[in-house]
C-alpha cells in the first residue's frame, strides 16, 4: 500500500482531515459533530498515515527521533503515548464529573456561560460539557490508536 500515489494523497489529506476533526469536535455542541465523531476521525487520519507509510513513520519521519528496534510493541513510545492519551481522557471525564460536585451539584452536572464582547467572535459560549467532550475525544483517540497499532504490529 505504500505507493507514491498513496503517500502523496496522505500528505495532502491528513492535515485536512485533522482540521476537520478538530472543528467537528469543537462545534459539536451546537452543530453536527462532537467528541466521539471528532475522535474517530482523528484516529482515521493516523491510520491513514500508518497505511501510507508504516508504523514507525510517526516517530522517525514526523518527530525525527530514532526508533528503538527490537523492543516489543508495548514499549514503543507511540503506543505508550496512545495509552497515556486514553488515561488522560478518562481523568478529564472524571474530573469534569467531580468538578460539579465541588460546588455542590450532583456528579456529572454540566453548566455553561455566555461571554460577550470577545474579539473576533463577539460572543462565545463556554460549556463545561466541552470539557467532558474533550475527555470523550481523548478516550476514543487513545483507545482506537492503541488497538490499531498493537494489532497491526502483530
Amino acid at each position: 500500500m505504500t505507493t507514491t500515489i498513496m503517500r502523496t494523497t496522505a500528505r495532502v489529506t491528513v492535515p485536512v482531515v485533522l482540521v476537520v476533526a478538530i472543528s467537528l469536535f469543537l462545534q459539536g455542541h451546537n452543530l453536527p459533530g462532537g467528541g466521539f465523531i471528532g475522535g474517530v476521525l482523528t484516529a482515521a487520519a493516523f491510520v491513514l498515515i500508518y497505511v501510507a507509510y508504516d508504523l514507525d513513520y510517526l516517530e522517525s519521519g514526523v518527530l525525527g527521533r530514532e526508533v528503538e528496534h527490537g523492543t516489543s510493541v508495548f514499549e514503543q513510545r507511540t503506543v505508550t503515548a496512545y495509552r497515556r492519551i486514553l488515561l488522560a481522557g478518562l481523568v478529564v471525564v472524571l474530573a469534569s464529573g467531580f468538578g460539579g460536585m465541588l460546588i455542590g451539584d450532583p456528579f456529572l452536572t454540566q453548566g455553561y456561560v455566555h461571554l460577550e464582547g470577545v474579539p473576533i467572535y463577539r460572543e462565545v459560549e463556554l460549556a463545561s460539557a466541552l470539557l467532558f467532550d474533550l475527555g470523550v475525544y481523548l478516550v476514543v483517540v487513545g483507545s482506537v490508536l492503541t488497538i490499531v497499532s498493537v494489532v497491526s504490529a502483530e
Partner: protein, 800 residues
C-alpha cells in the same frame, strides 16, 4: 428514646474496619493479632451492652427510590444475638491465639473471622430486608473462607464448597422471599418497602395481602428453606458435619454459636409476621424431625466434633420447633435456648479442640479417663454436657422444659396426630442424654489411650470455655437473672401475644415435668445400649435406598460439572466464528422469546407510502451490496462491497435528516476500511473451501439475526404520526436552556445522559485493555503452557 445510630453503626462497622486492616495488623503483631480481634469484639460487645439503653429503630436512607435503608432495629431478640456473637467472638479470638499457633494464613483467618463477626452483628441488628440479606450472604461467604482455611486440603475445599452451595442457595430463597414480602407491602403498607419492622407492626395486613396474592405459602416456604439451609435442618443438615474440617475455634464460633443460628434468628424474627396454621405445621414438624434425626446421628458418631455437629443440628431443631408452636411457651423455648445452647455448645467445641490439641485424636473410641490430666477441662465439660443433656438444674433444662410445655399444650389443644409432637420431642431428648453421656465419657472411666503425652492446656485455651461454663452456671443457678436482663426482651420480640417468661425448677409433677423425667431416666437407661443403637443408625444411613442427602448433593454437583464440561467444549471450542454464531443465535432467540413472552402487539400494516425514490434507491443499493458481500470471492472485494453497504446507510441517515448519525457512520466506515487495508496483507487472499453444511448453518444464523432485527424494529419504532414522547419533548425543549447547545444529540450525550456516556467510555477502555492483554497473553500464554505441560490438571477438589 431511640438508640443512637452512630453507636449501633460503630458497633457493626468496627469488626469490618478491623478486618480490612488485619493484614497490616498481622504484619505488626504476628500471632498476637488474635488479641487485637478480642479487643475489637469486646469493644462491640461493650458498645452494645452499655450504650444501648432503649429499644427502637434508627436508620438513614440508602436507595430512596426503592425505599431501601441502612436501618437498624434494636430489640431484645437482636441484641441477645448480637451480644452472644460479640461476647463469644472475644473468647474465640483469645482461644485462637493458642490454638492456631504456628498455622499458615493467619492474616486471612483473622480477617475472615472479624468480617464474619461484623456480618453477624449486622444480621442481628439490621431490619431492612435488603440490608439484612447483604449481611446474611456475607456470613456464608466468611464461613466459606473459614471452612476452607486449609486451602491445600481437598477435603477442606470440598466441605467449604458444600457449605457455600447449600447456605448461599438458601440465601437465594431468602432473596426471593423478601421480594415477595416487599410486593405484599405495596398493598398492605401503601408502598414498596423492605422495612421488616414496619411489616411486623402491620402483620395482620401483611398476612392478608400475602394470602390475597397467593404468595403466603411460597414466601413462607422460601423463608423456611433459607433458614433450614443456614441452620442445618433436615434434609439440608449434611453440610454442618462436613464443615467440621474447619479449625475448632471456627466450629465453636460459626457452626455452633452464631452462623447456624442465623436461620433460627430469622424464624424468630418473622414469626409474628407469618404465624399461621401452616407455619406451625411446617416449622414445628421440621424442627422436631431435625431434633430427632440430629440426635440419632450424634449417637452414631465416633468423632468428637462430628458428634457435636449433629448435636448442634439437633438443638437447632429444638429452637426451630419452639418457634414453630403458636404459643407463648414456644417463643420462650426458642429464645431462651438460643442463649443456653451458645453457653454450653461453644465450650464443648472448645473442649473438643483442647482434647485434640493435647491428646491428638478426635476418635471417641480412643479417648477416656482424661480427667486426671485435664481436671479443669473435665469440670467445664461436666457443666456443659449436663446442660446439653437437659439435666436439672442446669440451664439447658429450663429451655427444654419450655419446649415440652409448648409441645404438650399444643397437643392437648389439637389432639389426634398432634400428640406426636411431645412424643417425638421426648424421644429426641432421650437420645440427647445418650450422646451427652457419650461425650462426657471422654473424661471418665478407664483410659483408652496412652496418656503420657497429654499435658495441661495453656490458660488461653482453657480460659474461654471456662468463662462460658461459669456463665452457664450463673444462668443455671439464677435463670431469672438472665431472663430479666435480656431474654424477656427477646421473647417479647418473637412472641405473637403476651408471654411472660417465668423459669425455675418444677415444684409439682405436671406432664411436661414427667416428659423430662422420662428423657433423663430413659437416656441413662439407654446409655449402655448405645453401641447397638449406633450400629442400627449406621445400617440405616448406609442403606441402599438413597437416604443420604449428601449423596444427592454429590450427584447434583457431579452431574452439573459433567454436563457443563460437555456443553463447554461445544460452545467454547476456541474458534471465533463459533462464538459469534452462539452469541448471535442465543441473543436473537432470547430477544424473540422476550417479545413473545411479553405479548408484544402485532406490528401494524406495512405501508410502502412515505418512502421517497431516493431512499428506495439507496436501500436497494445497500441490499445489493449485502448480497455481494456474501458472494464475494476474495477479501478485497468483500471489504469493498461491505463499505458500499456502510456508505449507503450513511446516505440513508442523511436523507432521514439525522446528520449526527450520518457523520458517525461515515467516519466509522472510513476507519474500518482503513483498518482492513492495514491488515489485508496478512489475510489469505482467497477463502478456503467451505463445507455446504456450515454454509447452511451460517445462513440460518444470519437469517435468524436479520429476522430478529426486523421484528425488533417493527415492534419498537413509534408510529410516525404519533406525538413525540414526553422524554423526547423534554430533551428538545431543554437542550438550549438546560444544556446550552443546539445540537440535541450532543447535549444528550454530554449533559443529560453524561453518565451513560461515561459508562460507554469505560467500555471502550475495557475493550482497548482487553485487546492489549489478548495480544500480550498470546505470546506469554504459549510460553507458560510449554512450561507447565507436565503438570496434571487439578480436579478442583470436586471429589472428596
Amino acid at each position: 428514646m431511640a438508640p443512637d445510630l452512630t453507636l449501633v453503626t460503630t458497633a457493626v462497622a468496627l469488626p469490618f474496619v478491623a478486618a480490612a486492616v488485619s493484614p497490616l495488623l498481622y504484619r505488626v503483631l504476628g500471632e498476637r493479632t488474635g488479641y487485637a480481634g478480642a479487643v475489637v469484639a469486646t469493644a462491640s460487645f461493650g458498645l452494645l451492652a452499655t450504650g444501648v439503653d432503649d429499644y427502637g429503630t434508627v436508620g438513614v436512607s440508602w436507595v430512596p427510590a426503592l425505599d431501601v435503608g441502612i436501618q437498624f432495629t434494636v430489640d431484645g431478640w437482636g441484641l441477645l444475638f448480637a451480644l452472644l456473637a460479640s461476647g463469644i467472638g472475644a473468647l474465640v479470638f483469645v482461644y485462637s491465639t493458642s490454638y492456631m499457633h504456628g498455622e499458615e494464613g493467619l492474616a486471612r483467618y483473622y480477617a475472615a473471622l472479624l468480617a464474619f463477626m461484623g456480618s453477624i452483628l449486622g444480621v442481628a441488628l439490621a431490619s431492612d430486608l435488603v440490608f439484612l440479606f447483604l449481611f446474611w450472604e456475607l456470613t456464608s461467604l466468611c464461613s466459606f473462607v473459614l471452612i476452607g482455611h486449609h486451602t491445600e486440603d481437598a477435603e477442606s475445599r470440598y466441605s467449604a464448597r458444600m457449605a457455600m452451595v447449600v447456605t448461599v442457595g438458601g440465601g437465594l430463597c431468602l432473596l426471593a422471599a423478601l421480594l415477595m414480602l416487599a410486593a405484599a407491602a405495596r398493598g398492605a403498607l401503601g408502598g414498596v418497602t423492605f422495612d421488616l419492622t414496619a411489616m411486623i407492626a402491620n402483620s395482620g395486613a401483611m398476612r392478608a395481602a400475602l394470602r390475597e396474592s397467593g404468595l403466603f405459602l411460597p414466601a413462607l416456604g422460601l423463608i423456611v428453606v433459607a433458614a433450614a439451609a443456614k441452620s442445618a435442618q433436615v434434609p439440608l443438615h449434611f453440610w454442618l458435619p462436613n464443615a467440621m474440617v474447619a479449625p475448632t475455634p471456627v466450629s465453636a464460633f460459626l457452626h455452633s454459636a452464631t452462623m447456624v443460628k442465623v436461620g433460627v434468628y430469622l424464624l424468630g424474627r418473622v414469626r409474628p409476621l407469618l404465624m399461621s396454621p401452616e407455619w406451625v405445621l411446617i416449622v414445628a414438624t421440621l424442627g422436631l424431625v431435625t431434633m430427632t434425626v440430629g440426635a440419632l446421628l450424634a449417637v452414631a458418631s465416633t468423632d468428637t466434633k462430628e458428634l457435636l455437629a449433629y448435636s448442634t443440628a439437633s438443638h437447632l431443631g429444638l429452637m426451630v420447633a419452639g418457634f414453630g408452636f403458636d404459643i407463648g411457651y414456644g417463643a420462650e423455648a426458642g429464645a431462651f435456648h438460643l442463649l443456653n445452647h451458645a453457653l454450653f455448645k461453644a465450650p464443648l467445641f472448645l473442649v473438643a479442640g483442647i482434647v485434640v490439641h493435647e491428646a491428638g485424636t478426635r476418635n471417641l473410641n480412643n479417648l477416656g479417663g482424661l480427667w486426671r490430666e485435664l481436671p479443669v477441662t473435665a469440670a467445664v465439660t461436666v457443666v456443659a454436657a449436663l446442660s446439653m443433656a437437659g439435666i436439672p438444674p442446669f440451664n439447658g433444662f429450663y429451655s427444654k422444659e419450655l419446649l415440652f410445655e409448648a409441645a404438650y399444650e399444643v397437643a392437648h389443644e389439637a389432639g389426634g396426630l398432634a400428640w406426636l409432637y411431645p412424643a417425638v420431642a421426648t424421644l429426641a431428648s432421650v437420645l440427647t442424654v445418650v450422646y451427652s453421656l457419650t461425650f462426657l465419657a471422654l473424661f471418665f472411666g478407664e483410659r483408652r489411650a496412652p496418656a503420657a503425652d497429654v499435658h495441661r492446656p495453656p490458660v488461653t485455651l482453657i480460659g474461654p470455655p471456662a468463662v462460658l461454663a461459669v456463665a452457664a452456671v450463673v444462668v443455671s443457678v439464677a435463670p431469672q437473672l438472665a431472663v430479666d436482663a435480656i431474654v424477656q426482651g427477646a421473647v417479647d420480640a418473637t412472641a405473637t401475644g403476651e408471654a411472660q417468661l417465668a423459669v425455675g425448677l418444677p415444684t409439682h409433677l405436671s406432664p411436661p415435668v414427667a416428659m423430662s423425667g422420662v428423657a433423663v431416666v430413659g437416656g441413662v437407661a439407654a446409655y449402655p445400649l448405645r453401641g447397638r443403637l449406633a450400629t442400627g443408625v449406621r445400617r440405616g444411613v448406609d442403606a441402599p435406598v438413597p437416604v443420604r442427602p449428601s449423596g444427592w448433593y454429590d450427584w447434583v454437583v457431579s452431574t452439573t460439572t459433567a454436563t457443563s464440561a460437555r456443553f463447554g467444549s461445544a460452545v467454547h471450542n476456541g474458534l471465533l466464528r463459533r462464538y459469534v454464531g452462539w452469541t448471535a443465535a442465543a441473543g436473537s432467540l432470547l430477544a424473540l422469546a422476550g417479545f413473545a413472552a411479553t405479548g408484544a402487539p402485532a406490528p401494524g400494516a406495512l405501508g410502502g407510502t412515505g418512502v421517497t425514490l431516493a431512499v428506495a434507491v439507496v436501500l436497494g443499493v445497500a441490499t445489493l451490496a449485502g448480497v455481494a458481500v456474501a458472494a464475494a470471492a476474495s477479501h478485497v472485494s468483500g471489504v469493498l462491497t461491505l463499505s458500499i453497504l456502510g456508505f449507503m446507510l450513511a446516505i440513508f441517515f442523511i436523507l432521514a435528516s439525522a446528520p449526527d448519525l450520518a457523520l458517525t457512520q461515515l467516519v466509522i466506515e472510513t476507519l474500518i476500511l482503513l483498518m482492513f487495508l492495514l491488515v489485508l496483507q496478512r489475510l489469505p487472499s482467497f477463502y478456503s473451501e467451505i463445507r455446504p453444511l456450515s454454509i447452511a448453518r451460517d445462513a440460518s444464523v444470519s437469517l435468524l439475526v436479520g429476522a430478529t432485527a426486523f421484528v425488533a424494529v417493527l415492534l419498537t419504532i413509534p408510529d410516525p404520526d404519533a406525538d413525540p414522547t414526553s422524554v423526547a419533548t423534554y430533551y428538545t425543549e431543554q437542550a438550549v436552556p438546560g444544556g446550552g447547545g443546539t445540537n440535541v444529540v450532543n447535549v444528550i450525550l454530554v449533559d443529560f445522559r453524561a453518565f451513560d456516556t461515561l459508562g460507554e467510555l469505560l467500555v471502550v477502555t475495557v475493550a482497548a485493555i482487553a485487546i492489549l492483554v489478548l495480544v500480550t497473553m498470546r505470546t506469554r500464554g504459549e510460553a507458560s503452557e510449554a512450561a507447565s505441560d507436565g503438570e496434571s490438571i487439578p480436579d478442583g477438589g470436586d471429589s472428596p
